[in-house]
């Protein structure tokens, strides 16, 4: 027997890998459910028959930072470079419902994204940008996503544009904020309902181009989850939202075809291709069997993928370009609909313009030069890949079952179950890196003494002062009686348990600030403190 490099070969989910796979390994996922064809249930091989032969995926990137004017300039530049989807990164005070002059905002204004203190900032952001040229507007809003939606509607109405012609893509998944990302405001129960307000509003107002929710495994993964945990926790959250929506009398086939899943694109190539295929297969069955969907658009899961930032290294940062290229290949061969690629400097800061352009070019090279987009599900039928897809499915379903037994997503958040599972997985991974069992090039092997020298994006320290001045000027200029009336209207609806979107539109239109609006809701719903488990 030949001496092997390692005692055993395992995936992140502890799937033991065989030396070689054969036809004998490929078991049909379930009776009457073979691998199937693209565009057909259970959509393992893709959501449509032609996939990327019809059109490439939407290429986007995360961008933002500084003031609305600077971001506006950046959007115009990227639009000229052929980018079709725009992501609006919001700063932390905005995401958590604080105005720039709130004591909680000190030092954070404009740091990781743009400030939206009121409708005025959104108007500056889109000044001179025609909506019809943009295929997709995405945002990281979660706890404040209903407010973001309201601001966009208010702006569209003021521009004389029918909101139904815009394609807005809100993340609007607050449950994962308690598990991983931390930008929550209110406790989980009212927050869940607040997010479902967007789903309900879009379904009842014909906003068919809008994505009212993008259930997110990405941040869960970036907090240390394995691929199976990423999918399972994300699906558990989706089930919680969908149950609430269906409970309000909204039919699953009236909204779920517009709900996307946001997943990470990691570097373990086959494991990731399997993950995207597995996600589609589980989703289709969940929609059909659990929620009674009869429409195939609902059952075909659309995936938004962002290459996994946490996998990029601060050491030898140019290596990250190679990592992102592999991640891009996995996402494309996994059949995603939108892909955002990380910039090589992401481990340091918000991307510089040069780094962001290279990230976009990486996608363009894969799309136009590699040829992998010319065959649908080109890896389908590989014995190894099909086995991985099925094994991952079994693991995801087992975790989902556990979550259900523990009372579902909200109960698992409150007990700290999700959070503990994640920090456990992150700790195991870090121990493998520390011991050298898991090699990360440039970090624990193949090191160089050179210090990384790359140009960094530096947020302008003056931004905070300017934003404070701007919001204070607004407060003295606007019609404060109208603001108070709008806020009172919001409070009344929130206390009565009604849908908050219309009163939020009224607040946005009156130029009430983000802090005032979220402050009103904090008074009604309270605020959340995390259990701080590790």
């Amino acid at each position: 027997m030949a001496e092997l490099r390692k005692k055993e070969f395992r995936t992140l989910d502890d799937i033991q890998l065989k030396r070689v796979y054969t036809q004998a390994d490929v078991v049909a996922p379930s009776v009457g459910n073979p691998i199937g064809m693209p565009g057909e249930f259970p959509f393992t091989r893709g959501v449509s028959p032609e996939m990327h032969r019809q059109s490439f995926w939407i290429m986007g990137m995360y961008s933002g930072g500084g003031t609305a004017e600077e971001t506006n300039k950046r959007f115009r530049y990227l639009l000229g470079q052929g980018q079709t989807g725009f992501s609006i990164a919001l700063d932390l005070p905005t995401q958590m419902g604080y105005d720039p002059d709130d004591p909680m905002s000190k030092g954070e204004v404009g740091k990781v994204g743009v400030t939206l203190a009121s409708l005025e900032d959104l108007e500056r952001l889109f000044d001179g940008i025609p909506f019809e040229k943009v295929r997709q507007i995405r945002t990281t809003a979660n706890a404040i996503s209903p407010l973001f939606v309201a601001m966009v509607i208010a702006m569209a109405r003021r521009r004389g544009i029918d909101p139904r012609t815009i394609n807005l893509f809100v993340q609007n998944d607050v449950l994962k904020e308690y598990i991983a990302r931390g930008t929550y405001i209110y406790p989980p129960a009212p927050s869940l309902k607040h997010c479902v307000d967007v789903i309900e509003y879009c379904a009842r107002n014909g906003l068919r181009n809008w994505t009212p929710m993008s259930v997110s495994g990405y941040h869960i993964r970036d907090s240390g989850a394995t691929p199976a945990q990423e999918l399972a926790f994300c699906l558990a959250n989706a089930i919680a939202y969908f149950q609430e929506a269906v409970g309000r009398g909204v039919k699953v086939d009236d909204f779920a075809q517009n709900v996307w899943m946001f997943l990470a694109g990691d570097i373990a190539f086959l494991e990731e291709v399997a993950k995207f295929r597995c996600a589609r297969r589980i989703w289709s069955k969940l929609m059909r069997e659990r929620f009674g969907s009869t429409v195939s658009e609902t059952q075909a899961l659309k995936i938004f993928c962002y290459t996994l930032g946490g996998r990029l290294t601060a050491q030898q940062p140019l290596n990250n370009i190679a990592r992102v290229a592999i991640m891009t290949l996995a996402a494309v061969l996994g059949g995603v609909q939108t892909l955002a690629t990380s910039s090589y400097d992401e481990a340091f800061s918000t991307p510089t313009e040069e780094a962001a352009t290279i990230a976009l070019r990486t996608q363009q090279i894969v799309a136009n030069e590699s040829g992998v987009a010319d065959i649908v599900d080109a890896l389908g039928g590989s014995w190894a890949l099909e086995t991985l897809t099925s094994e991952l499915e079994a693991r995801v379903l087992a975790i989902l079952e556990q979550v259900e037994q523990k009372g579902g997503a909200a109960a698992c958040i409150e007990s700290g179950y999700f959070q503990q599972q994640l920090s456990g997985a992150a700790y195991r991974y870090q121990r493998e890196v520390d011991s050298g069992e898991r090699v990360v090039v440039g970090v624990n092997a193949f090191k160089t003494d050179e210090e990384p020298k790359i140009p960094l994006y530096r947020p302008d320290p003056e931004v905070e002062r300017r934003q404070v001045a701007s919001v204070q000027a607004l407060r003295s200029r606007r019609d404060n009686i109208a603001v108070q009336a709008a806020l009172a209207g919001l409070e009344q609806v929130a206390r009565g348990g009604g849908n908050t979107i219309e009163p939020l539109i009224a607040c946005a239109d009156a130029y009430a600030t983000t802090g005032e609006i979220c402050g009103t809701l904090r008074r009604v719903w309270g605020r959340y403190t995390d259990p701080a488990v590790f």
Partner: protein, 136 residues
């Protein structure tokens, strides 16, 4: 002797990235230390009050939002006002090289960037707390 090292790990500011600090918390805990973790979204006041009340030997701050210069300066001012000049402070997260001298001059004992091993964090905490205890 025999007394466990007490460490406060805190997430000041609005940043919610807590994978790193939780991994460090487990590593210090497994190395036999007493770890108090504040959870997210702490104001500088809350961090310093926790450090005083828990009578810790070391404070570790984790910030990945870029707000470190403002927040760390405030925490040091409050610590000085509470007479905690001797307690060493570590900062972890995404801190640009250019900001390190500034943080060091505020009094930060070390900045731990991405790629730091758990072993080196444990060793550093042990060294820093021993030095502190040796003082009269």
């Amino acid at each position: 002797m025999g007394e466990r090292i007490r460490v406060l790990l805190a997430k000041p500011g609005l940043d919610g990235h807590d994978r790193g600090i939780k991994v460090v918390a487990r590593a210090l805990h497994d190395a036999g230390m007493e770890v108090i973790y504040t959870g997210l979204h702490q104001t500088p006041e809350q961090v310093v009050i926790a450090a005083t009340q828990e009578d810790v030997d070391l404070v570790g701050l984790s910030i990945l939002s870029g707000a470190h210069n403002t927040i760390v300066a405030e925490i040091f001012e409050l610590m000085k006002a509470s007479g905690m000049n001797d307690v060493p402070v570590l900062v972890g997260g995404t801190i640009p090289d250019d900001d390190r001298p500034g943080l060091a001059s505020m009094g930060v004992a070390a900045v731990l960037g991405p790629g730091t091993t758990m072993h080196s964090v444990v060793t550093l905490v042990q060294q820093l707390t021993q030095r502190g205890r040796a003082r009269p």
